[in-house]
Amino acid sequence: MEVEAAKMIGAGLATLGLGGVGIGLGNLFSNFVAGALRNPSAAPKVFPNLLLGAALTEALGIFSLLIGLLVLFG
């Protein structure tokens, strides 16, 4: 069971990458809100870019999650 235990630890470590996604998404949305407050009329124009950035950022986190999944079940 040592390999199983190591797998658990490894998967847990892999999910740490999601912390970076949290920081990234926080940055993204806080900057969007700050910018939108300064110039509300420009906000709708960059909203698709915001979603795109969020998705791209989240994808990176999901990669680390995927590594966790592979470690656990692969």
């Binding site: 658990m8 998967a11 847990g12 999910t15 999601l18 996604v21 986190g61 999901i62 999650l65 966790g68 999944l69 592979l70 656990l72 079940f73 692969g74």
Partner: protein, 190 residues
């Protein structure tokens, strides 16, 4: 946050007895490669079918509707613009006609005024001429009457002087001397 829950869930799942026992159903269902060919096959089939169905049945119609609406809107807008232009042109023409009519009315009024003034002036002149003529005629008549009266006075005076001279002095005065005497007297008296 979702991912953290997921990690939790997966950890639970990994230690759950169901998975630990089920030897033939181990691991992620998504990573069982023997399941890939049927999925890929049916994905390609269904995707192509959907692509063909949408692009033949739906999209041309949808595009036609949207473009038809756009064309109709643009056409309606163009009609509205042309109608507006027409209305503006009609208003301009109306105002032009109004101005022309006003001008003509002014001209007619001025002409009428001038005519009336001319007629009045003519009549005035005529009247004045007539009055002057009558005044002249009256003066002539007065002068004639005056001359006649004066002549009568002279003849009466001549008669009277001859008669006086005959009765008083018993002398017959001839016409010529009597006339000269009367004229002299008249000339003295004015």
């Amino acid at each position: 946050m979702r991912q953290i829950f997921l990690g939790l869930a997966l950890a639970t799942a990994a230690v759950s007895p169901a998975l630990a026992e089920g030897a033939e159903k181990k691991g992620l269902p998504q990573l069982r490669f023997e399941d890939f060919p049927p999925q890929i096959f049916w994905l390609v089939i269904s995707f192509v079918v959907l692509l063909v169905l949408l692009s033949t049945l739906v999209l041309p119609k949808l595009q036609g509707t949207i473009e038809g609406r756009k064309a109709k809107l643009e056409g309606d807008l163009a009609t509205a613009v042309s109608l507006k232009d027409e209305a503006a042109a009609a208003i301009a023409a109306y105002e032009k006609a109004l101005a022309a009519a006003r001008q003509r009315a002014n001209a007619i009024a001025a002409e009428a005024k001038a005519q009336i003034e001319a007629a009045a002036a003519a009549r005035k002149a005529e009247l004045e001429a007539k009055l002057a003529e009558e005044a002249k005629a009256a003066e002539v008549r007065i002068n004639a009457t005056k001359a006649a009266a004066l002549a009568e006075v002279r003849s009466i005076a001549l008669e009277a002087a001859r008669a006086i001279a005959t009765k008083v002095a018993g002398i017959e005065v001839d016409d010529a001397s009597a006339a000269s005497a009367v004229d002299a007297a008249l000339g003295r008296n004015g």
